[in-house]
Amino acid sequence: MNKRVLALLMTGVMLAGVLTGCGGSSAGSNQSASNTEASADGEVTLKVFSNLPDRKNGQGLVEQMIIDDYMAENPNVKIEVEALDEEAYKTKFKAYAMDGMPDVVSIWGQPSFLDEVLDAGVLAELNEDDYKDYGFIAGSLEGFKKDGKLYGLPRNTDVQLIYYNQKMFDDNGWSVPTTYDELLKLVGDIKAAGIAPIAMDGGDGWPMATFLTDIMVKVAGTDYAKSVSDSVAAGNFDTPEFKQSVEVLKQLVDAGAFQTGYDAQDYGTAMNLFTNGQAAMFAMGSWECSMAKNEDIPEDIRTNIRAFTFPVIVGGKGGANDIAAWNGGGYAVAADSAVKDEAIKFLNYMYQPDKLSKYGWENGVGMSAQDQTSYLTGDETELQLSVMDMVKNATSVSGTPINDCGPATFKTVMESEIQGVSNGSESIDDFIKAIGEACK
């Protein structure tokens, strides 16, 4: 008796499951069909997958402005944006790589991200000749190529900088260091004055890796990119130039260059030490130039922010105008997009010089990867202009920062172990060995 009732019940439950499953599936398939395919009356829906969840500020706002412009100019096109922050974005990107990649996606033109993606063949090839007139900075497309074919376009130019507080420097009679030895001395002076010399986001790992990139550019000069890619290929970072760079980083930490507890503090904490006047300098990329326009920062600090790149190291091959700069983030089109032509049209629209470049510049989100000189509005901050000059006067540009030069595991290991080697819990040799292993 019991058995029979139970069997009946189970059948009922299973049947219910099957029915609901079917119901869901038919509804779902209708939806997805209408999303990806152009319907009869010329309506097109473009799906954009973005790594900029905040659509009201900064780069996310710029992206949304362009999307709104495009929809206004092309009433038959509807653009749906899905945005996740970096970690969640990369996880979901893997899921999409298996099935159903959205039409236009954010990508990073760095081997740690792009190699796997291109091997999976999910991105559409772009015609490089189409972009001759777009004013891309020389070499900025290289990171987005594989075997000479172009798969994406860069969004920004990022420069590794050390921001400093001009007023604080003047008041204390400090000057911008031109050599590494001067920097070490400056660190001592600032420390003696009871202020944290350099605010460093050591909790995240990557800011220290980009900082190390700047050091290595000064050590190895134009050999930086080749040295790193050789090391990655061989799985061996035991090169004199890399070792010296790590030693310089370690020396700086030992001299007390970073704030106390830097290895546990995050981006916001480090930045706020600087913007509250508790630190004299702040090591970060050029995207933070918008600090000079941020009303939340006290005015006597905001208007006095200036920047320099890592000073020359005696005996190093890099000069003052060899800078650590790269074109990281960008956009690409999915290879199996049902509306590929429209997607490429939208991509090209974004890169029209008066879109990403102009809007980005006006909103102070940093420099684009294209020529921006015709968009100077006249009310640029001194900080913005000085950083633009750095790029203009650069004798060489490093390309991809060191943590993004290898496979994904290399990136993870590098960013976690760099904390250990800087605070002394791991020896330099162990560090070199560990990141070498991670390349294999």
Binding site: T20, G24, S32, D54, D99
Partner: protein, 280 residues
């Protein structure tokens, strides 16, 4: 006599002191959350545990509501979580009854199979599930969240239910059957009221487990239609740095329902866990 009382009172003071300290530690994160949600992003980084804001910024909450899609996501969260809780209770109660009280050949096998689910890490299922859902075209629908939420809460719920069910005397059911009850009336009219503490425990656990879940939601959903509350926090995450104050406001808003649910069901939960544990 007097000494005894003295001893007792010292012990009581000590007990009270410890309990108060524990309570403060427990409640502090909530106070901290509310405090930070009312100050500006910059004030947050001044040293000191709690910040006294220059002026109380209710506008953080206004921004959260306006730009964070809070109402829509809150509604989604409530629908999905309430459904998940109901389904989990329904299935786990019937399964527990079937596996402990009914006699059939595969009952211990089925029970083990369902409990085995406890050992599967959620993240390992992320990509395969995505592929399966895509095949059935249920990504971006409510099912994409309901199915895993129910599946991952079920083993624990079943475990608690069976433990509790064992403590209910069989004679009650026998009496009910003699009075002419069928299996369903036994389960829903005799057993269910007795299982109340265990049902509220399961409800609270399922609810708290799934309320803040983000990893699966971010993978299986792509349009705002069914997005849940944790996505609101994301709306204020910039590329490099975020609007922390508003994020705190959103988090305070999303913590509130969980706290309310806990307070409402709290009476029953301790009872439920303890009884299930001993008689398991």
């Amino acid at each position: 006599m007097n000494e005894k009382r003295k001893k007792g009172s010292i012990g009581k003071i000590l007990l009270w002191a410890i309990l108060i300290i524990m309570a403060v530690i427990q409640i502090f994160p909530l106070i901290w959350l509310v405090d930070f949600s009312l100050c500006s992003s910059n004030e947050m980084f001044t040293s000191g545990l709690l910040v006294i804001p220059e002026r109380i910024r209710w506008d953080n909450y206004v921004i959260a509501f306006r730009d964070g899609n809070v109402m829509h996501y809150l509604l989604n969260s409530i629908i999905i979580n309430v459904l998940a809780v109901i389904i989990v209770i329904f299935i786990s109660m019937m399964a527990a009854f079937a596996c402990t009280r009914m006699h059939w050949k595969l009952r211990s096998f089925v029970m083990t199979l369902m409990l085995l689910g406890m050992m599967i890490p959620i993240h390992a299922t992320l990509l395969p599930n995505y592929k399966i859902y895509n095949y059935f075209h249920i990504t971006d629908t409510i099912w994409a969240l309901l199915i895993p939420y129910v599946a991952f809460s079920l083993p624990q719920a079943l475990f608690l239910m069976t433990g509790f069910l064992a403590s209910i005397p069989k004679e009650l059911e026998e009496a009910a059957v003699i009075d002419g009850c069928g299996v369903y009336r036994v389960v829903f009219q005799v057993i269910m009221p007795l299982l109340k503490p265990s049902i509220s425990t399961v409800a609270i656990m399922t609810f708290l487990n799934n309320w803040n879940e983000f990893m699966m939601a971010s993978t299986y959903l792509s349009t705002p239609k069914w997005k849940t509350l944790p996505f609101s926090v994301l709306e204020f995450t910039g590329q490099y740095s975020s609007n922390y104050a508003v994020q705190f406001a959103v988090m305070a808003l999303s913590a509130a329902p969980a706290v309310i649910v806990y307070i409402v069901l709290n009476k029953h939960i301790t009872k439920g866990v303890a009884m299930g544990a001993v008689k398991g």
